[in-house]
Symmetry: C2
Subunit: 259 residues, 2 copies
């Protein structure tokens, strides 16, 4: 019973440490980036106004519409009315999401630090955050290659099929509804995210013309957390299969050499 | 001597397999994406022409200059003369680079598949490419945690300091010269790349107004390859340190409970 209690304490400590690390990181990123972002936005707004005054033969609405389509995804060109300058990309929810993309190494890049301070902090935050995330995922998935190898073949097949269904196929159906993507786009987004490639071409909850339900992002975060643990197992398994295949090929070549 | 020969054969097989995998992948991505890219570029050029005809009170040069600043990084809005429509983002060199960012899970996202075919192929290419890359990096770095733990503390410190110098500090100096970044931007880029976060805000060899020497990208690729192996060791080490620290804290809490 003492060992069990010890294990629970250890897990509790880890979960608390992990979330505190993310929360503190999010707060620091926000503090470092918000001022610079505001200055940048105000400069962009001034530039825009000057541009619109020079080209008064265009109506503001026409130019606005055109720029909305062509606006850079850096979010520098302000596409709304002036009140939107006050809205920050680095609100706490986004900051926390950003901290999560750093420690998981997904790194979508839709939000990224632009100040020297933010960039240097990002390096140190990732340096300790990535190993912390690995330890956390180990605990979530009890990821151990030795453990995996003891499992029977049928159990393994079941694990694979269930994982593909739960972490790729069902989320893809879900994203079809919530994001309006095609089914293959949903599979692509799910795999690119869980494999931590994270191109940033598809990101959830980012379309301004869509209404997302309130705990949408939380649900996605839970999916990512368990999905990362699952895919780590999958990649571990495939790595073992590749290494074994290589050994067999080398053995066969030697056998052929003998004959 | 037979074991040594077997080891060499195994490594040779792995290196050949790894590069053939990347080369074939690059060719498939190119085949799948090039046609769609050209169609997209032509549509964008037509849109641009129509826009410029409607707003004839603006000189073409003025609008061109403005759009060059505001052009979206998707590369959809054509910023040069018409001959540049012929130039593809999916030339073989870029395609190979893209395949590398997929298997390493860096995923800058500056180039990404847009067709359904390209996206689905990307999923399967990553599914086997990521484990292959892990096996390859294992071989490059002889990465083994058990091995690492046997090394003496001083050797470890030396390994850390040398790695930081060789993989972060010196490359940053180098990027200052070749890319015109600040020193901290260079460190940020180096770490974000080697940790495989890969935001895509800084990417080498992408500034059109800079002259890069001919084997620049090859040199960068070698740096990334060995850097990834080094940082895997670093993260392994930090993961172990974190897990040990956790155990010590739990032990201390139990000790306090007893007193
Ligand atoms: K990534
Ligand atoms: K990325």
């Amino acid at each position: 019973p003492k060992a069990m209690c010890s294990g629970k304490l250890q897990t509790g400590l880890l979960v608390a440490g992990y979330f505190i690390y993310l929360l503190v990181g999010a707060a620091v990123f926000q503090a470092l980036e918000r001022t610079a972002e505001k200055q940048e936005k105000m400069a962009a707004a001034q530039m825009k106004e000057a541009f619109l005054q020079n080209f008064t033969h265009l109506t503001v609405a026409e130019m606005e519409q055109f720029m909305k389509v062509r606006a850079s995804p850096n979010g520098v060109y302000p596409v709304g009315n002036e009140s939107q300058i006050e809205e920050s990309n680095w609100d706490f929810s986004n900051s926390f999401f950003f901290a999560g993309t750093v420690v998981s190494t997904i790194g979508y890049g839709t939000l990224r630090p632009k100040t020297a301070g933010g960039q240097i902090f990002c390096v140190f935050f990732a340096l300790f955050g990535i190993p912390l995330n690995i330890v956390f995922l180990h605990r979530v998935g009890t990821s151990s290659r030795a453990h995996l190898l003891k499992i029977k073949f049928l159990t393994l097949l079941f694990f694979l099929a269930t994982g593909i269904l739960v972490f790729l196929c069902l989320p893809s159906l879900f994203f079809q509804k919530t994001e309006g993507w095609s089914y293959s786009e949903g599979i692509y987004f799910a795999f690119i995210t869980l494999s931590t490639i994270g191109f940033g071409d598809y990101v959830v909850g980012k379309q301004p013309d869509r209404n997302y339900f309130s705990y949408y992002r939380t649900l996605v975060a839970i999916w990512i957390l368990f999905g990362l643990a699952w895919i780590a197992l999958l990649f571990n398994l495939l790595t073992t299969v590749l290494e074994d295949t290589e050994k067999i090929i080398v053995k066969d070549i030697h056998q052929i050499g003998k004959v």
